[in-house]
Amino acid sequence: MTEHGGEVLATAPEERRPPVAEAAVTPRSRGHRGLTVALAALRAGPPAILLVLIVVLSLLSDVFLSLENVGNVLKQSAVICVLALGQLLVVVTRGIDLSVGSNLSLSAVVGAIVWRDQGSATLAVSAALATGTLVGLINGLLYVKGRLPHPFIPTLAMLTAASGLALYLSHSETIQGVPPVVNEIGAGRIASIPGGGDVGWFPTAALVVLAVAVVMVLVTRGLVWGRWIYAVGGNPEAALRNGIPVHAVLISVYVACGFLAGVAALLTMGKGDAGSPTSGALAELDAIAAVIIGGASFLGGRGSVVNALTGALVIAVMRNGLNLLGIDPNWQYIATGAVIVVAVELDVARGYVERRFRSLQAVTAS
């Protein structure tokens, strides 16, 4: 290395050398360190919000931290969590999927009809998952191959279409009965985890969420496909120039999001022991809110599995807390709105600090 450096030194005009040598040893300035701390704090945004909520609620309510209530929160948040993880993939690529709620309803209705008519758990589960996946595939194809200007359009169309189809297939009625295995993952509790007596407190649905989350972390951090999702979201133009199959990546995230809507449909069916054509109504808004509270950016390229889950938990904990405190349930919606604004304001502040950081780099590191 030193030999090589010597050669360069000989060819380069003298006055250009000192800055390079300096940069290698320049210690970070105090301002630099201050911004690093501020940045770390702002990046901890979503978990910090969740932590504050938990601390405040545990002070205000005795039951909040009881295992039974924690189990309830986990169970109630499971559907939002799974939907949010699917939505995350889409949002990272600068997209949005408005159809996940309707997709959930449709998948649940199809699953319940297949169970009623065929009596096969395997067929019913496969049908629900396949319906969700197919809806996602249609979304992706409409957006990419149909060249619709923004994913808002095809998924908005799908929101109404899938919802209409769910109502049509079910004759606007809830179809009672689901396979026992579906009932178990949606409503069951694991008795072998101690603390909840004979029935247990830890919901099986939370295990499903955990499994989905682990797979998602592996995919987004470990697989080339996961890297491509972030690359396409960060700079689609450059992704294309670098030979990343942008179209296939875009279609694939809608397929994955649809599949997860199918998983969420199974959880919902299990919880209510039925397939209802309106069971997913407005769930897309919760999913999108969770992802945004979790710090993902609509500008694309940013967002993580853990933070999206945190966002979903923030919404669930808030609802649960307001419930426990006996506050009018309509406040839940107002509070959710407020948290969205706070979370995004924190994100704006983070962007500001990052720009400061960057200009400081130009001064200290050159």
Partner: protein
């Protein structure tokens, strides 16, 4: 990785462009331009706005297709090849927008679209990334080019203009590049950062890479270029070794003063 400087042979050009012509409707953008660049040589491309510099580099990198003329790389005719094919032949262009992934770290930027991953029998997208191998290769390359970054794990968005430029240039040479085209690499940079980028150009040269440099700064051209070619209205109007003595000559070629063809 690129061959080291010892192999630089000025008699055997890496790139040869012959009689390149390109018109856009009634506008003649290139009118019979001929140039060549050898390994380890820095050719500065000078000219006023609209002189044809951008069209020329886009024709070389496969973005534009020439109406007539030829582009040859290491003796292989690449006239009319697509941008992807030209890149596969080892020609990398760093445009002013840098085309970086701001949300990813330098290693992810280097390997975007060509991630090191296994096992090979799986489809590309389903392979597991080899994070450590990519990190090590990145650190090696940055070390070889003497690019210092405060934090290799930080996303590119957090870096200064000069550091980003350095990452973009390093990425261009990361994959056995023969020719790197730099489009005004210092346009958005301050003095010290500009100096560092010019240092980097020197190191590309030392590594046997042929460089075409577009710049408006005559000082920079004199500092790093072995040769300067001046374009004016789509024609090449003069070529010389840029020195302080012929500074005025170069300027008069650029602006088209009456004695432009005197030398």
């Amino acid at each position: 990785m690129t061959a080291l400087a010892s192999g630089a042979d000025p008699t055997r050009p890496v790139l040869e462009v012959r009689d390149a012509c390109k018109r856009f409707g009634a506008v003649v953008a290139l009118d019979g331009v001929t140039l060549d660049v050898a390994a380890g040589e820095v050719l500065a491309l000078l000219g006023d706005n609209g002189a044809g510099k951008s069209t020329l580099i886009k024709a070389i990198s496969g973005v534009h297709r020439l109406d007539s003329g030829s582009v040859t790389l290491d003796g292989t005719d690449i006239t009319g090849a697509t941008a992807m094919t030209v890149r596969a032949h080892g020609v990398e262009t760093v445009y002013q927008d840098l085309a970086l992934f701001d949300n990813l770290d330098p290693a992810a930027n280097f390997f975007a679209g060509r991630e090191l991953a296994r096992p090979a029998w799986l489809p590309r997208g389903l392979r597991l990334m080899r994070h450590r191998a990519m990190g090590e290769r990145t650190a090696e390359l940055l070390d070889r080019l003497q690019v210092r970054l405060p934090d290799l794990d930080a996303v590119v968005a957090l870096m200064s203009g000069g550091q980003r430029q350095a990452v973009a240039v390093a990425r261009a040479v990361a994959f056995s590049s023969r020719l790197v085209i730099l489009d005004e690499p210092t346009a958005a940079l301050g003095l010290r950062e500009s100096a560092r980028v010019l240092d980097l150009v020197h190191r590309l040269k030392d590594n046997g890479v042929a460089v075409i440099l577009i710049s408006h700064s005559m000082d920079q051209v004199m500092a790093v270029a072995d040769r300067a070619l001046v374009l004016r209205r789509g024609r090449s109007v003069g070529q010389t070794v840029p020195t302080t003595e012929n500074h005025r000559q170069l300027v008069s070629w650029i602006v088209g003063a009456t004695d432009a063809r005197a030398v």
